[in-house]
């Protein structure tokens, strides 16, 4: 089994992320499975950026904290990351910018001189670095050149030259680490949550995306913006999040499927509109990207600490759906499902993700047939006078849009009667409230037919790991490192809570550990609330970083008493 892990670091503006993504993509094209995580502070130039790149001949779900190679564009990278090297680790660095005298093997390479030699610009150091890394992992130059051509088009030439220079230099001076064996497999995208959730929504009929930039959801806006023509969508960036959310309700009322994206702080501002979606029964999908909070917090890092916040957003009682995919494929599927559910049940739906899922890239198969525009609750015809809020057994009222001949479509923020006119009587209020709450039953029946949880590992194991969202990746990889039978229950739907799919696993388990990137054990508290089951053991942290599989496997073993 081949499994490589290295780090590329430099200053913000040095092009580290792009380089890592290109390498990850190159590995992916070779049939390897790659994973790239980025780490950058909230600034534009000069701060320290790095990426960890992992590639393997079997599916990987996560990065590894430890690396066998630190590829440094500057001195800072070496001093910050030397301690993350494995025993036989190497330090590859631009010898024009940095030096290394430490205990690991030094691989100096004059990247800046090379760039000067070909008359390039500093950012091109990356291409020479890519060439050197290719050599270290026994990759020929062809696939590298292909990627550079894909990335830089006509301007690729100098980069290709530099890649060769880097490659040659490395070949002459450095021993390779290993020779990566290309794998024959069906090609899969090398993709992040950003693109996956966007494409899922579009495949489910999304026509309008609205967002006010906020890390980690800004990239959704960028992706939607740059691809708006291919995707046939309109992209709007309005005055603020309150505008975003209320506008989204207008779009759906007008008849087009709409999604919005934000982070915790922006979502805090959308709460009143979320409640309005509940009251007016207008379909709305909110992608919420978690990052460490409260307030502005640590903007460019990751967290899973907004679960409770998101579950209870908005004043009043109304059905809402919250789904948390754990990888890009699930982001695609659940993003689409969110849109379909919103339009079938006329409820607000949150797709709860985080920076780690949104911004990390991985090789993963995405089958676009898994998402389609499902039948919605849009009506073709109706009896008598049209009633936007007609009482029905399911609680779902057939929906039409303004512009429909013969229908007067009235939606309201007030409690209202079937036509949408404001009311105040106790019976009227109760009936309409119950009509809305009744939808939850249909949603639950519907979800029973969908995948609300996933069981990984040994389905018969007595030891159970419970996790949600992007922690899936580290958990899956950690399980590979534990040679005891272990079952992993990944909870994807958080509201309505899939007790039907969860309870048995809890009951069957002898020992359970809940793993989350928060300090208060939010899924754990939810499970107790929903099932009465108290999970005593929890592995928690909230420091902006996702779990590392190796570290996590150690903690799991400890929790299960295996070491």
């Amino acid at each position: 089994m081949q499994d490589i892990s290295f780090l590329i670091g430099g200053e913000a503006g040095d092009g580290v992320m792009r380089t890592a993504e290109l390498l990850g993509k190159a590995f992916n094209r070779l049939g390897l499975y790659s994973f790239v995580i980025n780490d950058y502070p909230s600034l534009i130039r000069g701060g320290h950026n790095f990426c960890k790149v992992r590639a393997s001949n079997h599916q990987v779900w996560s990065h590894l904290e430890a690396v066998e190679l630190v590829a440094a564009l500057n001195q800072d990278t070496i001093s910050r990351h030397e301690n993350e090297l494995t025993k036989d680790g190497l330090v590859l660095f631009d010898s024009d910018k940095a030096s290394y005298k430490g205990s690991y093997k030094a691989y100096p390479i004059p990247l800046s001189s090379m760039v000067k030699e070909v008359g390039g610009i500093p950012i091109m150091r990356n291409s020479a670095m890519i060439g050197a890394i290719a050599h270290l992992y026994g990759i020929p130059l062809e696939p590298v050149n292909e990627i550079l051509t894909w990335a830089y088009g006509k301007r690729a030439e100098k980069n290709i030259t530099l890649a060769k220079m880097g490659f040659d230099h490395a070949k002459q001076n450095f021993d390779p680490i290993l020779k990566l064996e290309p794998v024959k497999r069906d090609p899969t995208p090398f993709i992040s949550g950003v693109e996956a959730v966007s494409l899922g929504a579009v495949k489910a009929g999304m026509k309008v995306y609205i967002g006010y930039p906020m890390t980690p959801s800004t990239r959704i806006l960028s992706f939607m913006g740059t691809h708006q023509d291919e995707l046939g969508i309109a992209v709007i960036h309005p005055e603020n999040e309150i505008g975003v959310a209320n506008m989204a309700l207008g779009v759906a009322y007008g008849g087009a499927r709409c999604m919005v994206g934000t982070a915790g702080g922006g979502f805090a501002l959308m709460q009143e509109a979320f409640s309005m979606a509940g009251q007016s029964e207008i379909p709305a999908v909110f992608v919420v990207g978690q990052r460490p909070a409260p307030a502005v917090g640590v903007p460019t890092y990751t967290a899973q600490a907004d679960l409770r916040f998101v579950l209870h957003v908005g004043h009043g009682e109304f059905p809402r759906i919250v789904v948390a995919p754990g990888d890009p494929e699930e982001a695609f599927v659940k993003g689409g499902e969110a849109m379909n559910l919103a339009w079938r049940y006329q409820v607000p739906v949150v797709v709860l993700v985080d920076k780690h899922l949104l911004e990390s890239y991985m090789s993963i198969a995405i089958d676009e047939r898994k998402v389609n525009v499902e039948p919605s609750s849009v009506a073709e015809s109706w009896d008598g006078e049209y009633k936007r809020y007609k009482f029905t057994d399911s609680g779902v009222s057939p929906m039409v849009f303004p512009g429909t001949l013969g229908a007067v479509v009235k939606v309201s923020s007030y409690e209202h009667d079937e036509h949408g006119y404001a009311i105040e009587t106790p019976e009227g209020v109760t009936n309409m409230l119950q009509k809305r709450l009744r939808k939850m039953e249909g949603i639950i029946e519907d979800l029973k037919k969908r995948e609300t949880v996933k069981i990984h590992g040994d389905p018969k194991a007595e030891n159970l790991v419970v996790a949600w969202g992007s922690t899936k990746g580290a958990a899956l990889d950690a399980m590979q490192l534990i040679d005891k039978p272990l079952k992993f229950l990944q909870v994807m739907y958080l509201s309505p809570f899939p007790t039907w799919d969860v309870e048995d696993h809890l009951k069957q388990a002898k020992d359970i550990v809940c793993v989350e990137v928060n300090m208060t054990g939010q899924l754990r508290s939810l499970i107790r609330e929903q099932t009465g089951h108290y999970i005593e053991k929890a592995i928690l942290k909230n420091d902006g970083r996702p779990f590392d599989p190796v570290g996590l496997s150690g903690k799991l073993k400890e929790a299960f008493g295996w070491k």
């Binding site: 995208p189 309109a234 309005p238 505008g243 007008g254 512009g403 007067v408």
Partner: protein
């Protein structure tokens, strides 16, 4: 189309003599006229309103309506136009609604020149919450929260809208119904963001009818050039023995939705059958 076809079954609960009745009556007439003249079909009209006494207008007209959150009249209008450009949208807001809670949306939507009409029922008071100051409340006005009288300089909504690039800026008066009717009709026919601040009489908390009546005059009858921005600014400042009503400023400018969408009608477009081509980029 008959005006009374817009009559709604909802019981009207405005106070006797409230200026909102006049706005309501006039708007229904304007809608009937729009439909009659073939400008628009009745099912394409959508109104939207905020929360406050004014907001009830959504319940009082039998037409498509979006009864908003307080202060959020504008964003849904923008959303629905993006979804379906063919709609004819008219927003009704209170002065609290438009200038306090929701002013950010107003400013930017004016700037964008969304093709929408926006009518502010400016009674200079939060009426529905039983009288508190708004941005247009005059200095000295007493309420429970400011028992010694308000001391904040009021905002000049017309000046604000001119500063933000609205392409139709006007003032109406509930004490002059024929004028208001013609004003709203022109606003609704204006292609772009049409803003009308209506001096709305509130007998319960701010009975201004008799105070404003003798002062109000139609500036469009006095040779005001609606294309002269500087003159519009000058007129917007006039607020003394004479209070101008009418169109202060009107200009042609491309509308937001055309620039965003061209002629696309998103609500009627088929979903994209496949995202494979984009997925391919990630291979």
């Amino acid at each position: 189309m008959e005006v009374r076809e817009f009559d709604s079954p909802a019981k009207n609960t405005w106070c006797l003599g409230c200026g909102n009745f006049n706005i309501l009556a006039v708007v229904k007439q304007v809608m009937a006229e729009l439909v009659e003249s073939g400008d628009v079909k009745s099912e394409q009209i959508v109104i939207s309103s905020g929360i406050g006494c004014h907001g009830k207008i959504s319940d009082y007209i039998k037409v498509n309506s979006f009864y908003c959150l307080h202060g959020r009249v504008v964003p849904p209008l923008m959303g629905m136009k993006v979804g379906n450009q063919r709609l004819k949208v008219i927003g009704f807001a209170g002065d609290g609604d438009a200038y306090d809670e929701g002013v950010s949306h107003l400013i930017h939507t004016a700037r964008r020149n969304l093709d929408a009409t926006f009518i502010v029922h400016d009674n200079q008071v939060f009426a529905l919450t039983t009288s508190q100051v708004t941005p247009t409340t005059p200095i000295g006005f007493k309420t429970k929260s400011v028992p010694k009288g308000s001391f904040e300089s009021p905002l000049n909504p017309l000046h604000l809208m001119l500063a933000c690039g609205a392409t139709f800026v006007a003032r109406g008066f509930t004490g002059d119904i024929p004028h208001l009717r013609s004003l709203i009709l022109q606003a609704v026919r204006h292609r772009g963001f049409a803003f009308i601040d209506v001096l709305q009489h509130c007998p319960s908390f701010n009975p201004t009818l008799e105070k404003f009546k003798p002062k109000v005059y139609d500036l469009n009858k006095e040779g005001h050039n609606v294309e002269d921005f500087a003159a519009a600014l000058e007129k917007a400042k006039e607020w003394n023995d004479r209070i101008p009503i009418g169109i202060f400023y009107q200009v042609k400018k491309e509308i937001y939705e055309k620039q965003l969408l061209g002629d696309r009608l998103l609500a009627e477009e088929k979903p994209l059958p496949s995202v494979q081509s984009v997925l391919q980029e990630f291979m």
